[in-house]
């Protein structure tokens, strides 16, 4: 089992800086999710580790071995593609055997290993079918088994679930995690879906404009985003633009936190579950503008006046409690200052 180290990796496509000096260490056996919007460089980073893109600068190591210039076929990797890229002319069994066949392994060994993998991904019944004869989820598992066949040191997954519907997606996500831990391989997982990244990864690398903005365990990314981009991209959050007065940022009497030195205005983020809602006076007054029913919780959209300006925010309430609240009701809010993150506005 080896880790992956990227040092100062840069890659440019024409005028676009896809990777801008990325450094990243993935520990042996760890699953790191690369999370970010499309165009943030996460797929380019993954393809650079695979050798499908050649970075102009920097160094890529798998274990102790420098693979920066090694051709793809000599790298100890397995890769799962967004569209699975199973070979349509081969059955599931032949697809899984392919990496072993091209490595000229003895036939008996190939058969044993393929049977093992079919067991691992539960594809007994589909083993002798062609890719177009099985479902998307089954194709995905076949692609995973093929990637794992040669026992790669690093498993690379490029948005492996994005072509599936929501139900299958959640199940397969857990399945991928189970398998990754069972075979104890290091893995890099590209996704634009933050819930997916949070659920599957040991650590999440939030990427933006070719850079890693924050690399931390999911709970830390969620609780303590270190950059404005992480805060805005990860988790659903209230984002309010607030002025700085006497070194403090306030939303009326709802909260007051220290402002970053030298800033004149900030963007304040706080999560809806950190908004404390009261039906009697206490805290800062607000008004229920709209309600949306989400099953167990109901999301309340609130408006409030602070320093002569109107601010909009939202909070989630258990649906039974929200029943009594009509649109237009007066409520009072308070936010624990420890849960508010502020970032200076570049103005």
């Amino acid at each position: 089992m080896s880790g992956v180290v990227l040092r100062n990796v840069s890659k440019r496509f024409g005028a676009v800086q896809a990777l801008d000096g990325v450094s990243l260490e993935v520990a042996p056996g760890e699953l790191v999710a690369l999370l970010g919007p499309s165009g943030c460089g996460k797929t380019t980073l993954l393809r650079s580790v695979a050798g499908l893109e050649r970075p102009e600068q920097g160094q890529i190591l798998v274990g102790d071995r420098d693979v920066t210039l090694a051709p793809t076929r000599e790298r100890p990797i397995g890769m799962v593609f967004q569209s699975y890229a199973l070979f349509p002319n081969m059955t599931v069994r032949e697809n899984i055997a392919f990496p072993l066949m091209v490595r000229k392994r003895p036939r008996a060994q190939i058969e044993r290993r393929v049977a093992e993998l079919i067991e691992l991904v539960h594809l007994h019944e589909q083993a002798d079918r062609y890719p177009h004869q099985i479902s998307g989820g089954q194709q995905q598992r076949a692609a995973l088994a093929r990637a794992l066949a040669p026992d790669p040191e690093v498993l690379l997954l490029d948005e492996p679930l994005s072509a599936l519907d929501a139900l299958v997606r959640a199940r397969l996500r857990d399945e991928i995690r189970r398998i990754q831990q069972a075979v104890k391989t290091t893995a890099i997982y590209v996704t634009h879906d933050q819930a997916e990244a949070m659920a599957i990864a040991d650590r999440v690398a939030v990427m933006n404009q070719g850079r890693v903005e924050q690399l931390a365990p999911p709970i830390e990314i969620y609780e303590a985003p270190s950059t404005r981009f992480s805060a805005a991209f990860v988790g659903s959050r209230n984002a309010l633009e607030l002025p700085v007065q006497d070194g403090q940022v306030r939303l009326g009497s709802a909260f007051s936190v220290a402002a970053p030195a030298g800033s004149r205005a900030v963007l304040a983020f706080f999560r809806p579950e950190d908004v404390e809602l009261r039906l009697e006076p206490g805290g800062h007054p607000a008004r229920v503008e709209a309600k949306t029913f989400h099953g167990s919780v109901t999301r309340l959209h609130l408006t409030t006046e602070a320093d002569g300006r109107t601010a909009r925010l939202y909070t989630d309430l258990p649906s039974r409690q929200a029943l009594s609240l009509e649109t237009g009701s007066d409520v009072w809010i308070r936010v624990d200052p420890a849960t508010v993150r502020v970032f200076p506005l570049e103005k």
Binding site: R73, A85, F87, F98, V102, L156
Partner: protein, 287 residues
């Protein structure tokens, strides 16, 4: 009317009767000339009536007994096959390279594929003659020159068919997947690329064969009577003092049957994959 036919006709936006008439008209349009050629090859005399005055197998026995005609036919078949092999050997790797490895050379390959259609074959023939006369005069008049000439003018058919099949099968992605599986370039071409573009190779190969088989200008100018192909024999037969029109009908019909059988065989072998000349045709598979 069964529900199945009703839905089929709705898809075509034509009532079944309209379909039938259209299909019949098309069939007549396509088959009538072939039928006329067959009748003519079997006719004693065919002058004033809608059908021949009498029938005979004489022209068939004459034609098949004529060593010159048989030799021309065999030459044309051999030449056609050789041209197909040369084109496959050059075009498939080139198309793969242009599509997967270096998309920037696509402009060049597309341009090269347009040239045979932009220039009359006669011009191409004389250009080849001029060039070869300067660089390799010993090739002049040999069948080799004709082989490579035909390969040069017919390759676009194969290129387009193969390129379309590569797009439809997303060969670029499959090729990357094979690389991450540890496969070397030759193994990728053999196990992943070729098996997934056979329909394109078959379709393109048939068109290349047909182009070579029926080509006159290059054959006439580059080799002439030294390597008589079917089109050269045909022109000679037409110009002879006692025009061998009936034998011409025999060879025309035989040519048609040969090409038809090859095409039908190619379609039959590929019916599991469908002829996927157009990107997106894959979506129809397996339904």
């Amino acid at each position: 009317m069964s529900a199945h036919r009703a839905s089929a006709s709705r898809r075509l936006l034509l009532p079944p009767l309209g379909q039938l008439i259209l299909f019949g008209a098309l069939a007549i349009y396509l088959l009538l000339p072939v039928l006329a050629v067959l009748l003519y090859s079997l006719a004693t005399v065919w002058r004033a009536h809608i059908l021949p005055d009498g029938y005979t197998l004489k022209h068939w026995t004459n034609g098949l007994d004529d060593p010159r005609l048989v030799a021309a036919f065999l030459r044309s078949v051999g030449l056609g096959l050789a041209v197909v092999i040369v084109d496959i050997a050059f075009v498939v790797p080139a198309a793969y390279w242009a599509r997967v490895r270096n998309p920037r050379i696509r402009m060049l390959t597309e341009l090269a594929a347009a040239i045979p259609f932009a220039l009359p074959f006669i011009v191409i023939a004389f250009a080849i003659l001029q060039l070869v006369g300067k660089v390799a005069p010993h090739l002049l008049g040999t069948p080799w020159l004709l082989l490579f000439g035909h390969a040069a003018i017919a390759f676009p058919f194969l290129y387009w068919a193969v390129d379309g099949a590569m797009a439809a099968a997303d060969i670029a992605r499959l090729s990357e997947a094979a690389e991450t599986c540890g496969a070397a370039p030759l193994a990728i071409i053999r196990h992943v690329v070729l098996p997934n573009i056979t329909s394109g190779i078959a379709t393109g190969g048939i068109l290349v064969f047909a182009t070579s088989f029926g080509e006159f200008a290059l054959a006439q100018i580059l080799v002439g009577a030294r390597f008589e192909t079917v089109p050269l024999w045909s022109v000679d037969a037409l110009g002879a003092t006692q025009g061998k029109f009936n034998e011409l009908a025999v060879i025309t019909f035989v040519t048609f049957v040969v090409l038809f059988v090859i095409s039908a065989a190619a379609v039959y072998w590929n019916r599991a994959q469908t002829i996927r000349l157009l990107p997106g045709a894959r979506a129809m598979e397996g339904k």
